[in-house]
Each structure stands twice: as structure tokens, then as C-alpha cells.
């Protein structure tokens, strides 16, 4: 099965990457963008999706500083 794990910095933790992007936008003429937060998207194929919770908590995210969300997708259509 295909799955996606979305990892984001926990609320309240300063995200310097997000701040840098937010500050770059006005230079391009985009006004009014705030609260930019940058995370990570992990896409994978997995035989046993029940393992995803553990995989995410032990490796893909560090639960001290990051939250994660698991999204299960349809199987990829046969080529």
C-alpha cells in the first residue's frame, strides 16, 4: 500500500526555515503571508500499514519536537 507521512514542527517551536521563507515573500511582491511552517513529506510503499505508527514515532519524526500525520493512499495502478 502507498502511504504518506506528514511531519511538522510542533506548535510553539520556532521554525527558522519558515521564518526565512516568510521574510522572502514580500521581496517577490507577495504581501500578507504569515505563520509559514515547514515540515517534511515522506512517501512510501508498505506491506503492513499497521507498522506506520511505530515507524513514524521511532524514525520519521522525533515526537519531542515534531508531530506527524499518516495518510493511507490507494494502491498504485498497475503499470
Amino acid at each position: 500500500m502507498r502511504a504518506r507521512v506528514l511531519v511538522r514542527p510542533k506548535q510553539g517551536i520556532l521554525d527558522p526555515q519558515g521564518v526565512a521563507v516568510e521574510r522572502a515573500l514580500p521581496a517577490l511582491g507577495f504581501q500578507g503571508v504569515t505563520e509559514v511552517r515547514i515540515g517534511r513529506l515522506v512517501e512510501l510503499e508498505i506491506k503492513d500499514p499497521a507498522q506506520l505508527e511505530q515507524i513514524s514515532a521511532q524514525l520519521l519524526a522525533n515526537p519531542l519536537i515534531e508531530d506527524f500525520e499518516i495518510e493511507l493512499l490507494e494502491d498504485a495502478p498497475a503499470a
Binding site: I13, L14, P16, Q17, V19, A20, R40, L59, L60, N62, L64, I65
Partner: protein, 224 residues
């Protein structure tokens, strides 16, 4: 004292760590794929970019075969020092509390920092007189120490905050100016600045040597 210095793909400070440790005893480099710690008295997890810092700094290194042995070694009371990337690895491995986040200044920064030795009686700081200040270099992109408020207070009350940045020195935005912490048992210590780069007057400071001398005293004391 025999010190083992770990070497991961992407380590870059292991030879300086070895040179520093060689000033206080024997040394051996330990490859990340080997489980055998070769009867060392202490382990140094050195700086660098283990496994390219993929995912998060230290996240992959903690699962290497050598780290399994280090976790066991630390559980048995063995001395473990983590420097920079080594500190990140020890946090990811759960041997030390907290995590290291990207610097608040958004830059990889290389500068000399002044540190206050908060806890002078530890196995890693016993050679520092009380109130000692250390001047040693720091160089990293992810050195912002973070833990939740309850953990931070617990660390302070338990004497686990070993070194702090002096006012004006905390360029990475570490909470409560924390530069290095130890575990509750006191045998594992991690810090972001690099004591191994400050052991020879040629490079401006020999303050880092105190850390290695302290470790030697701890090991010699345990052998008596």
C-alpha cells in the same frame, strides 16, 4: 584510560577528538558497523554530519550497530561524551534529554563561545575550578537546545545543566542558554561546542582539555 572514538560515514571531527583524548590516555577509533567497543573505559561520539544528517541530525546514526553497544555501555555506567553531532546522536538515542533544533539565527555558525561551567563536580568537569569559564569553538547549523518547560526545570533542579552560554554568546537560541547537559546518572554528557578543538595553545585556547582531564580522573578514580 582507553577512549574509543566512534567514526560514522560523515563524521569529521573524530581525528581531533582522538588527538585530544590521546593527551590523557590511549585511544582507538571504532567503526560504526562494529559492535565491539574493544574494552574502552570511555566513548566519544564526535562531531560531523553522520549519515549526511539525513532526516534529522543524528537520527540515522542512533540505529548503527556501534550505537547499540554504546547504549548498553552507557546503561552499565560507562562514560560517554557527545560533541556537537555526537550530542545530537545521544539525544536521538534517548541517552540524553531534549533535542537540537536548527539555529535560531538560520545560519551555520562558526565562532568562539564563552561558557560558564554550571556544574563543576561532574565526571566531565571535575578539573574545572568552581565558576570556571571555558572559551572553546562552536560550529554547527542545528544547535538550539530544546526540551519542554517541565523537563528544563527538572534538568536545572537535578544539576543536569553542565555548561551554559554566557550572556551574548547564545547565537543558536538554546532554551535557558543551555550548551550542554548530562543524564541523571551523570555518566553521559553532551555539548554543542567543541572541547577537542581547544586543547593546544596553537589554536588559541586550551580550555577544552579540562573536559578530557576530568574524564581521566573519573576513570582512574573508578579503577582504584
Amino acid at each position: 584510560m582507553k577512549t574509543g572514538i566512534l567514526r560514522f560515514p560523515g563524521s569529521c571531527d573524530e581525528l581531533d577528538a582522538q588527538l585530544a583524548a590521546a593527551l590523557v590516555g590511549e585511544t582507538v577509533l571504532l567503526w560504526h558497523g562494529d559492535r565491539d567497543l574493544q574494552d574502552v573505559d570511555a566513548v566519544i561520539v564526535p562531531g560531523g554530519f553522520s549519515y549526511g544528517d539525513y532526516l534529522r541530525a543524528g537520527a540515522i546514526a542512533r540505529f548503527s550497530p556501534v550505537m547499540e553497544s554504546v547504549i548498553e555501555f552507557a546503561g552499565d555506567g560507562g562514560l560517554v561524551l557527545g560533541i556537537c553531532n555526537g550530542f545530537q546522536v545521544l539525544c536521538e538515542a534517548g541517552l540524553l534529554p531534549g533535542a537540537l533544533l536548527p539555529n535560531a539565527n538560520r545560519r551555520f555558525t562558526f565562532r568562539q563561545v564563552e561558557l560558564e561551567v554550571v556544574e563543576g563536580g561532574t565526571k566531565f568537569t571535575s578539573a574545572c575550578p568552581p565558576g570556571e569559564l571555558l572559551s572553546i569553538p562552536a560550529k554547527h547549523g542545528s544547535g538550539r537546545f530544546y526540551a519542554d518547560e517541565a523537563t528544563l526545570s527538572e534538568l536545572e533542579e537535578g544539576g543536569q545543566v553542565v555548561v551554559r552560554y554566557l550572556p551574548g554568546q547564545n547565537f543558536n537560541g538554546s532554551l535557558r542558554d543551555i550548551a550542554g547537559v548530562r543524564n541523571a546518572a551523570g555518566n553521559v554528557f553532551g555539548l554543542m561546542p567543541h572541547p577537542e578543538h581547544a586543547v593546544d595553545a596553537l589554536t588559541g585556547s586550551t580550555d577544552g582539555l579540562r573536559i578530557f582531564e576530568s574524564m581521566r580522573s573519573a576513570v582512574d578514580g573508578a579503577h582504584v
